[in-house]
Symmetry: C2
Subunit: 125 residues, 2 copies
DNA sequence: TATCAATATGCGAAAAAAAACATATCGCAA
DNA sequence: TTGCGATATGTTTTTTTTCGCATATTGATA
């Protein structure tokens, strides 16, 4: 819930976003891309991950590539050809990033919760 | 500084954004608009605020109007005509929001600082 | 060795967002 | 009563992003 009932701020909410940036100020990875990485990890391929997320393979592939270029190292180990056509798995670095990001989100949520409370308290003073 | 020296994460940073949203999921006010409100407060007019921020008056005006429409109440009291052509001052609600937001940012920065540290520690483990 | 599913990319269209341009209105003060 | 500077908007242009379509490559397996 946002502000207290009856307040003019009743249906207003605080939202936030966290992402990784490089020194050039370019965004690298945010919520969407992290979710994509998780899906790749879970399903074993970019195309399956894209499907599950309801985005085109073209877009998902482009996202991964862009992030990797900006980072300067690979997040996903891609294989093509073979009976299944190919597959993709996270690199150790990719896994690590995803893990760290997940924990980060939890802590962020906790912090936000407190801060939000204070914010609306102040507004309703 | 981001990761520890020599780390693969050396030149990567965590960034964040906070903003207000209404129940329809529409963004209302973020960093830029809050800064605009501060400038209006400081300079006494929308046009001066726009100048100082290096944006067009058209854009600044549109931003304020849009935010007010989504909030359902006024943030700025505008007057036109007169010797000076007109002027603008924050409404009490506008002032209140700006104040609360400023405090919010400080707390956010503190929280982020801690969380960022943990994040990179984990990556470099 | 032909097939098949997944990776890999280029490119043009379409949609969305931002910036620029053009006016109109308003009201005090000279 | 005219000029000036700020508010108020509609319209158009430009820029940026996103989407969709087409096409090539790869390699285990039947």
């Amino acid at each position: 819930m946002a502000g207290s009932k009856g307040s003019k701020y009743y249906d207003i909410f605080l939202k936030f976003k966290v992402w990784l940036e490089n020194t050039k100020g370019q965004g690298i990875l945010g919520d969407g891309k992290f979710e994509l990485l998780e899906m790749i990890d879970k399903h074993g391929s970019l195309s399956a991950a894209a499907d599950k997320m309801g985005v085109s393979y073209r877009k998902a592939w482009g996202n991964v590539k862009e992030a990797e270029e900006k980072l300067g190292f690979l997040l996903v180990e891609k294989h093509r050809g073979g009976a299944q056509g190919g597959n993709s798995v996270l690199t150790p670095e990719g896994k690590r990033l995803v893990e760290a990001y997940k924990e980060l989100l939890v802590e962020f949520d906790n912090a936000i919760h407190l801060i939000t409370k204070k914010f609306f308290n102040k507004l309703n003073t």
